[in-house]
C-alpha cells in the first residue's frame, strides 16, 4: 500500500481555513527565524485522506476485530459509551487551566475516580497524574526516594528487589529512579524463591516491586511471608498493577501489604489502547506516603466543592502536565460505574476463562507451572521446537491465519518459547473454544506440515516481515525522491524478542 506522501500532488489540500478581512498584515519575522523551506506534508483532498486512513484501518486488528489474547495486556471490550462521554464538549473543550469554579464537573469526576480506585486497591490516597503504567512505576519509586529521604535513610537504602519474571519496565524504572537492581529467583511452583529473597533483603533495601498475580499468571502463595520480610527491615512494597484484572473485589493490594500501587487504566478499566496508547497509570498509596504524591492533588473541599491543592511541601513534584490524561479518566470512570461492586464478577470470569483455555491446551503444549492459573497463563512451545523445529513465533504467526491475534510470546524470560495467554472476561465460550481448536490444530500441523507454521502468516496483508533487516539498516521516515528501493535480500526474522506486555 502506498504511503500518504506517495499519493500527494502539489496544489491539493483537505483544509480550508477562515479568512478574516481587514486584519493588520502579520509582523515581519526576522529572517533567521523565518521558515526557509516548507515541510513536505502530504497534499491530498479530504476524501483521499479519509480513504487512506480507512484502508490503513482495514490492515489492522483490534479487540473490535476479534479475539486478542495478548498476555498481560488485558485486551477486553472497550465500551462505546466511553467514547461518547469523553467527546462531550464539557470535557473535550475544557482547558486544563480553567479556574476551579469553571471545572467543578471535571474535578468531581476525578475525585470520584480516586475514591473508587482507593477502595479497589485497599489504599488511602490516589494520584491520577501518571500517563501510563511505566510512568506510574517511576512515580512510585520517586515516592520511595522521597519517603526515605524524609526519614534520613536516603543514603542507606540503595536497592530495589525485582523477581526474574518482572516486566522490563520494572528494572528500567529502577535505573531511572537512581536505584540499584537486586534480582530474585522464581521457585519451581512459580512463586518468588523465599530463601533466595531472605538473603537479599536487608537494611539497604528500599523496596520490592512485584506483580501479583505474577507474569506467569500465578498468585504468590507466600505473599504474607514476603510482606513480613520487607516490612521487617523497614522497606516498602510496590505493586505493579498490570495484572489487577485477576483480583478486583477478591483481594486488594493494600490488604496484601503493599504500600504503593499503580493501576493500568488501559488494561483493567477499559481505556482503549489506540495501537500503543493512550494509557493511564494512577498511583495509590498508604497514608504515610500521601504527603509525597504529585501536585496538584484533586481534593474535596467543603459542601461538595472540589479543588486543586498545590501546597504540599514534601511532594515529589510533577511527572506530567496538569492533572493527568483526563479523557482516560472519563472512560475508566464510566466503566467502573457500570460495574460497581460487580467488579468481583468481572475478575472471576476473567479467571474462569483463563483456566478453561488452560485446561483445554495444557496437554498439547508444555506447561511450566502445573497449577490453576489466575487471569492468564504461560505455555511453552519447547517440545514443538525440539520435535518439529516450530517455535513460539511460528505458532503466533500461524494463529493469525485463524484470525486470532497471537498471545504474548518470549515473555516472561524465564520460560523458553513462552506463549502467554490472557483471554479476559469479555470472551464467549464459543470464541474460547474456537481459539483452543486453532491452537490444537496448529500442534497437529507442526507434526504433519511444519512449513505451514514456518511460512505463516499466509492470509494477512503482508507475509512475515523481516525485523532484523529493519534494525540493521534503519529506515525510519519516508525519503521522498531519495527513498530507498523496497526490494532487497529477504531474511526471515528470528529475533526472540518479547512480543507483548
Amino acid at each position: 500500500m502506498k504511503l500518504i506522501y506517495e499519493k500527494s500532488q502539489a496544489g491539493r489540500r483537505a483544509s480550508a481555513l477562515p479568512r478574516y478581512e481587514n486584519l493588520p498584515s502579520p509582523p515581519e519575522l526576522p529572517e533567521e527565524l523565518r521558515r526557509s523551506e516548507p515541510p513536505r506534508l502530504a497534499e491530498v483532498p479530504e476524501f483521499e485522506l479519509v480513504r487512506h486512513f480507512t484502508e490503513l484501518s482495514t490492515r489492522n486488528f483490534g479487540v473490535d476485530t476479534g479475539f486478542y489474547p495478548l498476555g498481560s495486556c488485558t485486551m477486553k471490550y472497550n465500551p462505546r459509551i466511553n467514547e461518547r462521554l469523553a467527546a462531550l464538549p464539557g470535557f473535550a473543550r475544557l482547558h486544563p487551566l480553567q479556574d476551579e469554579d469553571g471545572a467543578q464537573g471535571a474535578l468531581e469526576l476525578m475525585w470520584r475516580l480516586q475514591e473508587i480506585l482507593a477502595e479497589v486497591t485497599g489504599l488511602h490516597a490516589v494520584s491520577l497524574q501518571p500517563a501510563a503504567g511505566s510512568q506510574g512505576e517511576l512515580t512510585g519509586l520517586l515516592l520511595v526516594r522521597a519517603y526515605f529521604a524524609a526519614r534520613g535513610e536516603a543514603e542507606q537504602r540503595r536497592t530495589v528487589v525485582i523477581p526474574d519474571t518482572a516486566h522490563g519496565t520494572n528494572p528500567a524504572s529502577v535505573t531511572m529512579a537512581g536505584y540499584e537492581l537486586t534480582p530474585v529467583r522464581t521457585d519451581a511452583r512459580g512463586n518468588i524463591d523465599v530463601d533466595d529473597l531472605r538473603g537479599k533483603v536487608d537494611e539497604h533495601t528500599a523496596a520490592l516491586m512485584l506483580t501479583n498475580p505474577s507474569t506467569v499468571g500465578l498468585f504468590d502463595e507466600n505473599i504474607e511471608e514476603i510482606e513480613r520480610i520487607f516490612h521487617g527491615v523497614g522497606a516498602l512494597m510496590y505493586y505493579d498493577g498490570a495484572n489487577l484484572n485477576a483480583v478486583c473485589g477478591i483481594s486488594r493490594p493494600g490488604d496484601m501489604g503493599f504500600d504503593i500501587v499503580h493501576i493500568n487504566l488501559h488494561k483493567t478499566f477499559s481505556q482503549p489502547h489506540g495501537g500503543g496508547g493512550p494509557g493511564g497509570g494512577p498511583v495509590a498509596v498508604r497514608e504515610s506516603l500521601e504527603p509525597f504524591l504529585p501536585v496538584p492533588a484533586v481534593v474535596q473541599q467543603d459542601e461538595g466543592r472540589f479543588g486543586l491543592e498545590y501546597d504540599r511541601p514534601q511532594t515529589i513534584g510533577k511527572v506530567r502536565g496538569f492533572t493527568g490524561p483526563f479523557g482516560v479518566f472519563v472512560r475508566s470512570y464510566a466503566f467502573l460505574r457500570m460495574w460497581g461492586p460487580r467488579l468481583r464478577e468481572m475478575s472471576e470470569v476473567a479467571v474462569l476463562n483463563a483456566n478453561y483455555v488452560l485446561a483445554r491446551l495444557k496437554e498439547a503444549y508444555d506447561l511450566p507451572f502445573d497449577r490453576l492459573c489466575m487471569h492468564e497463563f504461560v505455555l511453552s512451545a519447547r517440545t514443538l521446537k525440539r520435535e518439529h523445529g516450530c517455535t513460539a513465533l511460528d505458532v503466533a504467526k500461524r494463529l493469525m491465519d485463524y484470525s486470532f491475534h497471537p498471545p504474548t510470546i518470549y515473555f516472561p524470560l524465564i520460560v523458553p518459547e513462552a506463549l502467554m495467554i490472557e483471554p479476559t472476561e469479555t470472551e464467549a465460550k464459543e470464541t474460547l473454544d474456537a481459539f483452543c481448536d486453532a491452537m490444537l490444530a496448529i500442534v497437529r500441523e507442526a507434526g504433519e506440515e511444519p512449513e505451514l507454521l514456518k511460512e505463516a502468516p499466509h492470509h494477512r496483508p503482508v507475509k512475515r516481515l523481516d525485523e532484523v533487516r529493519a534494525a540493521k539498516r534503519p529506515v525510519v521516515k519516508y525519503g521522498f525522491e531519495e527513498h530507498p528501493d523496497a526490494k532487497g535480500e529477504p531474511k526471515v526474522a528470528a529475533a526472540e524478542a518479547p512480543k507483548g506486555v
Binding site: 513536505r40 464538549p89 482547558h95 507483548g500
Partner: protein, 451 residues
C-alpha cells in the same frame, strides 16, 4: 437473580461446563492459592452498577458543570490551545481497528498502525528538520525529561540548563525526573521576555543539555539560532521545545542546529480535554537514533519482498535491555499522534503556513486592540510574538480573570502563578478560532475590568 452483565458473555450453563472441564466445582475454588488473610471477604463498597443510559445522564451532568470553550469565550493558552480539530480526525480515531489495538508487537496484524506511525514520524521530521522521530511520548513535559536522559548518556555530564521562559510545567517535570537521573537543573532568567545568549552560554558550561522554548512561554520569539550556537559551543546538546503549528512560518530547529526537537502535540489535532491525553513530540538528529526513548517504526520487507513496517531498534527498549534501557516507556500516545498525523495531513504545507500567518495576524490585531485600552499595556514591547503575548492589566490578574469570566470571557492565564513580579500580567492566547469580533469583545471586557 442477578441480571447478565452486558459486558459478559458466559451463561450459567457455560460456567458449569467450563468448571467441569477445569475439574473444579465452583469459581471460588479457582482462587484457592490466595491465603485467607489477603482476601477481601466482603463486597466492594461502591455504588450499584449503572446502565448505559444512567451512566450517560450522570457523567453528562458532570460535563455540564464545566465552563468549556463552547460556553465561555476563552483566551487561555499557556501550552494547551483551542485550535480547530476537523471532523476527519474524529472519524479516523474512532475506527475500532485502530482504536482498540494494542502496541503493534505483531506487525502482520498491525500494518495499519505501523504505517501510520511511519507517516507520523515522517511528518514530525519534516516539520522539525530532524532525522528521526519516535512514535510519541506522553506529553510536552515528559519528552523534555526524556531528552535530559538522552543528553546525560550522550555527554556523560550531569547538569541541565533550562531557560526560565520555558513552560513552567515542563521545568517542574524535568526537576522531578532529575531527582532520579542524578541531574542538577540550572535555570537561566529571561530579560524582557527572551533569553540572553551570553547568560545562556555561561550557564551551559559543563551542561549535558540546554532546553529552550520557541516561541517561548510568553509567546516571544527567542534568538534561537544564537542560543543553539552558544549551547553547542559549550558542548551541551541544544534542545528546542517547539509548537508544531508555528513551523509553517518559523524555521525548523534542525535547520539552525538543534540536537533534539520536542514539544506538546496537542495543538495539532487533539482537543484540550482538561490536559490530556495528548502526545509528546520527540525528534533528534541521526547520531542519537540508538539513544532515543520509546517506540520507533522502521521500514522493511516481507518474505515476498513486499514493503512493510515493524517496530525497530528494539534493543534500546525495556523489554530487551531492562535496567540498561534508554527509557522505561512502553505505552505511549499513538492514537493521539495519529490524530496529529491526520490533522497535519488535513492542513498540508499550505494550510500550515496559512494557519501560522492567521495566528500572527490575529495576535497582532489583538495586541493592537488591547494596547488601545486605558489600563492595559503590552509587557515585552518590542519583542516579536507568535500567537500569545503578555499584557499588564493594572491589578491582580486573577481578579481580572474572575471579573471577566462573570462577563463570559476568560481573558487568559495569570502569569503571577509562575513568575514573581508578574501578578498583574495576563498571558493571552489567540488561535484561528478567535474572530476579530471576539477579540474586540476581549478588549471591551478587559477595558471594563482592568485596573
Amino acid at each position: 437473580m442477578t441480571q447478565q452483565h452486558p459486558f459478559l458473555a458466559l451463561t450459567d450453563s457455560d460456567r458449569e461446563e467450563m468448571l467441569g472441564a477445569i475439574g473444579v466445582g465452583t469459581v471460588d475454588e479457582l482462587f484457592r492459592d490466595l491465603p485467607e488473610a489477603v482476601r477481601l471477604g466482603r463486597e466492594l463498597r461502591l455504588e450499584p452498577p449503572l446502565s448505559e443510559q444512567e451512566v450517560y445522564a450522570h457523567v453528562a451532568a458532570l460535563a455540564e458543570r464545566n465552563a468549556d470553550a463552547s460556553r465561555e469565550l476563552s483566551f487561555l493558552g499557556a501550552g494547551i490551545y483551542d485550535h480547530y480539530v476537523p471532523a476527519v480526525v474524529d472519524t479516523i480515531l474512532q475506527r475500532g481497528e485502530l482504536l482498540t489495538a494494542y502496541t503493534p508487537y505483531q506487525p502482520e496484524m498491525s500494518q495499519g498502525v505501523l504505517q501510520a506511525i511511519f507517516e507520523y514520524q515522517t511528518a514530525i521530521c519534516e516539520l522539525t528538520g530532524m532525522d528521526v522521530s519516535n512514535a510519541s511520548g506522553y506529553d510536552g513535559t515528559s519528552v523534555a525529561a526524556d531528552a535530559c536522559y538522552v543528553a546525560k548518556h550522550a555527554t556523560g555530564r550531569s547538569k541541565v540548563v533550562v531557560t526560565e521562559a520555558t513552560n513552567p510545567q515542563v521545568r517542574q517535570v524535568v526537576r522531578t525526573y532529575a531527582a532520579g537521573f542524578g541531574l542538577e537543573i540550572v535555570e537561566v532568567p529571561h530579560r524582557n521576555g527572551t533569553t540572553d545568549p551570553d547568560e545562556l552560554e555561561r550557564a551551559a558550561v559543563d551542561a549535558a543539555a540546554v532546553i529552550f522554548q520557541q516561541p517561548n512561554f510568553f509567546g516571544c520569539l527567542e534568538p534561537a539560532p544564537d542560543l543553539v550556537a552558544r549551547a553547542t559551543e559549550a558542548g551541551a546538546l541544544p534542545v528546542a521545545h517547539v509548537d508544531l503549528l508555528s513551523l509553517g512560518v518559523l524555521e525548523a530547529p534542525g535547520r539552525y542546529g538543534a540536537a533534539l526537537a520536542l514539544g506538546e502535540g496537542q495543538a495539532a489535532g487533539n482537543f484540550p480535554s482538561f490536559g490530556g491525553p495528548h502526545y509528546g513530540v520527540l525528534a533528534a538528529r541521526e547520531e542519537f537514533i540508538r539513544r532515543m526513548p520509546g517506540r520507533i517504526v522502521g521500514e522493511t520487507v516481507d518474505t515476498a519482498r513486499e514493503r512493510g513496517y515493524v517496530l525497530t531498534l528494539q534493543t534500546r527498549e525495556q523489554h530487551i535491555r531492562r535496567e540498561k534501557a534508554t527509557s522505561n516507556i512502553t505505552t505511549n500516545q499513538t492514537l493521539l499522534a495519529l490524530g496529529g498525523l491526520v490533522y497535519l495531513t488535513w492542513l498540508g504545507p499550505q494550510g500550515l503556513r496559512e494557519l501560522g500567518e492567521t495566528c500572527l495576524s490575529l495576535a497582532a490585531y489583538a495586541k493592537q486592540r488591547l494596547a488601545e485600552q486605558a489600563g492595559l499595556e503590552c509587557v515585552f514591547a518590542g519583542q516579536t510574538t507568535f500567537k500569545e503575548f503578555a499584557v499588564r492589566v493594572g491589578r491582580n490578574a486573577r481578579e481580572v480573570v474572575a471579573a471577566a469570566r462573570e462577563r463570559g470571557v476568560h481573558p487568559g492565564y495569570a502569569l503571577g502563578r509562575d513568575y514573581e513580579g508578574m501578578d498583574d500580567v495576563l498571558l493571552v492566547a489567540i488561535t484561528e478560532r478567535r474572530t476579530p469580533d471576539e477579540i474586540d469583545r476581549l478588549a471591551d471586557v478587559l477595558a471594563e475590568v482592568a485596573g
